[in-house]
């Protein structure tokens, strides 16, 4: 899964720890999501989307776009 989390966070000048605090998760989890080694659960994905005022699809997308169909 690819995601825009690092870009969205940088646009707001938040550190990973800042974002972690807002989402009530660890900084390691933010780092793992940003670097693509962890796909968040659906509840956490919804929380992330709500925080940035976007839809889940605007933030997360599959590596292989065909897999989305």
């Amino acid at each position: 899964m690819k995601n825009q989390l690092r870009v969205l966070r940088a646009q707001r000048s938040w550190s990973q720890a800042d974002l972690a605090e807002k989402l009530n998760v660890s900084r390691q989890t933010i780092n793992a999501i940003e670097t693509g080694r962890y796909d968040p659960s659906l509840p956490l994905a919804f929380t992330i989307a709500r925080l940035f005022g976007l839809t889940i699809e605007a933030i997360f997308s599959p590596e292989d776009p065909e897999a989305h169909d």
Partner: protein, 300 residues
């Protein structure tokens, strides 16, 4: 507009390791055999002793520097293996130079009576206890000092400043983790003392082991409630991996026992075997996740 990327922070792990090695060396006594050999070569006794006290510090710092150089640019798993191998070599030669913590066995015997020579399982219990206590002390440094503490114990060349951003709430968790690790180390060592004690002196170390075990386990329950979804998954993955690894360890031990080259696999062996396997599994699980991150960041 995004803020410029902060400069990587410099680690102070090698310096810290040098100080720790010097303190450890100060608790030691020159091994009689090596000292005798150096004196036979014509060195004055005091010079030979000074060399045997200085050598471990140089060896340990050298191992850290070599490990860092060899591991540069490699995955976390490979770096961990390189550091472990360098540490084993440094540890082997340190044992050749010094008998460390010389006052400790005498103090234990003064409190609890004479101890039998440790068998392979008891050596494993002492080793595991020393490893988790050392880990606990390192975690305690982070809990106490926060980011400067993390910087002080890290061996890597340049550190991601994000990784050094340790908040107050995290420090409380690190503190709990440190208490748990140190207590588990004490429990493991007390269990070994109980096994090595004479029949009439088993109860004392058993009580210490039970108390330390309870103190060691309680923080795990509190920490579990504080873990987020990724951290919980890592714990579960580590236990799943340990089950597979420990089955292989038990199979190998059973074969060795059948061939009469290993002692019977008793409850103490199960405890220390599972504990060590779980340490290794936790490292493998976290390192493989980090390796995946590296692979995904690499350009196609």
């Amino acid at each position: 507009m995004s803020a410029p990327a902060p400069k990587p922070a410099t680690s102070r792990g090698v310096l810290t390791m040098g100080i720790a090695a010097a303190l450890l060396s100060a608790t030691g006594q020159a091994t009689p055999k090596t000292l005798a050999r150096l004196v036979e070569l014509g060195l004055p006794d005091i010079a030979a002793r000074a060399i045997l006290h200085a050598a471990p510090v140089i060896l340990i710092v050298g191992a850290a520097i070599i490990g860092r150089a060899l591991g540069r640019g490699r995955s976390k798993l490979v770096r961990g293996v390189i550091y472990a191998l360098c540490g084993i070599v440094a540890g082997f030669f340190t044992a050749y130079c010094l008998d460390l913590l010389v006052g400790v066995p005498a103090a234990i015997e003064a409190l609890n009576g004479p101890l039998a020579e440790p068998d392979v399982i008891e050596i494993a219990l002492w080793t595991y206890g020393a490893i988790v206590m050392s880990m606990g002390l390192m975690v305690a440094v982070i809990a106490t000092f926060g980011s400067p503490g993390a910087q002080a114990i890290n061996l890597e060349d340049d550190l991601d400043p994000e990784a050094l951003d340790i908040r107050k709430a995290e420090r409380a968790s690190f503190g709990l983790s440190a208490v748990g690790l140190v207590a588990m180390g004490v429990a493991s060592m007390a269990l070994s003392i109980a096994r090595q004690s004479a029949d009439g002196a088993v109860l004392g170390p058993c009580l210490v082991a039970i108390a330390a075990g309870m103190i060691g386990v309680l923080p795990s329950f509190v920490l579990w409630s504080r873990l987020d979804e990724l951290q919980r998954r890592q714990v579960v993955d580590a236990y799943a991996t340990s089950a597979v690894l420990f089955t292989l360890v038990a199979f190998g031990w059973a074969l060795a026992q059948a061939l009469d080259v290993a002692p019977p696999f008793d409850a103490g062996a199960v405890f220390v075997g599972l504990s060590i396997t779980q340490l290794v599994a936790t490292f493998v699980v976290t390192a493989s996740l980090a390796g995946k991150a590296r692979a995904e960041r690499r350009p196609a």
